[in-house]
Amino acid sequence: MSEAPIYPHADVEICPGGPMLVRNAGAIRDADGQVHRVDKPIVALCRCQKSARKPWCDGTHKLLPPEKRPQ
């Protein structure tokens, strides 16, 4: 019998064309130095710089043409 596989799993994930997923964060410091408390086990951080809710992703990257989305 083969061993059960160990799956690669990360706390931080870069989503092509989209946000950065962050797990188990206590607080996030944004570009202006402001600290945001995190009360969820997983959050999405904006990478396209167009979110109206920075540092959080609000899905705005989907309104950008593909070449303007973060890699």
Binding site: C15, P16, P19, K40, P41, A44, W56, G59, T60
Partner: protein, 318 residues
Amino acid sequence: MLLPEPRGALTSALFAALRTSPRTQVDVCVEPSDLDDATLALWVLHELSYRGFDDVDDAAEWDLGALAVRRRLEDDLERRMRERYAASAARPDTGDLAADLFTYIEQFEGPSLARFVQTTATRDQVLELLKWRSIYHLKEADPTAWVIPRLPVRAKAALAELQYDEYGGGNPNQLHQNLFTRGMRAVGLNEKYGRYVGEAPTEFLEMNNALSMLGLHRRLRAAALGHLAAFETTSSEPSRRIAQGLRRLELAEELAEYYDEHVTADAVHDQLAVRSICGTLVDDEPDQAEEIFFGAFVCMDMESRAAHAAFARWGVDA
């Protein structure tokens, strides 16, 4: 919740039998009067597997007659959904499931109720829409919970991560269903589970029937997850628009906050649904790829039909 008012021959016969179950078995030979009658019958039969009805014995969920009627109605619904999918635009197929699924969902065109709520809808129209939508929101995430035990390891862990958030992360106050309940009460609507089923148009009930059917059949597990992916991917931006519309109409802040919560929550959920859930499922079960796109189509097609129905009722050009 009590059984709703019947809407035709099938629901009349079915509801009468359900009220006296298990003394009487459901008659499997009654034909529906029309699609509205068939759709309400299926909604009620599915509900027996969720919270049930105060005037129906709990054992009716597994009444053989009820199951036979449910199966017949589901077969008809699935046939119609598959015919529309077969007639729709082909899906992209580059071999990158996540990229293809995002592209497929983004390219689907349908009328936007969210944009209408944001800019134009009257207070009465928004309240009516909330009543119809409450059929879904008060059991939000429940149909997808049926799918968890049917998945391979990675997709199961990822779906549990998403559902944990839908169910409030252990905090009943944050349970999304419960956030909607509080919002309904705050705008003066009756928040009782199932209260507005009797007022819901066929298309809004059918949207829920499709979701329940995909969740309840193991055979349709990948379609259920494709549906989830499309739903989450098309949620953040419309939720932002609806929140703006609610504030424009000065409706209670609690309800706008429900939609605010979905702007950021669903920006996480869509990535999980597309990449970690659908993506790994197809890695493990490659023959399920087409079913994921079918499920995504069902979500968007049903939403589009419901939007058309709402605009037609209000006499608004979609």
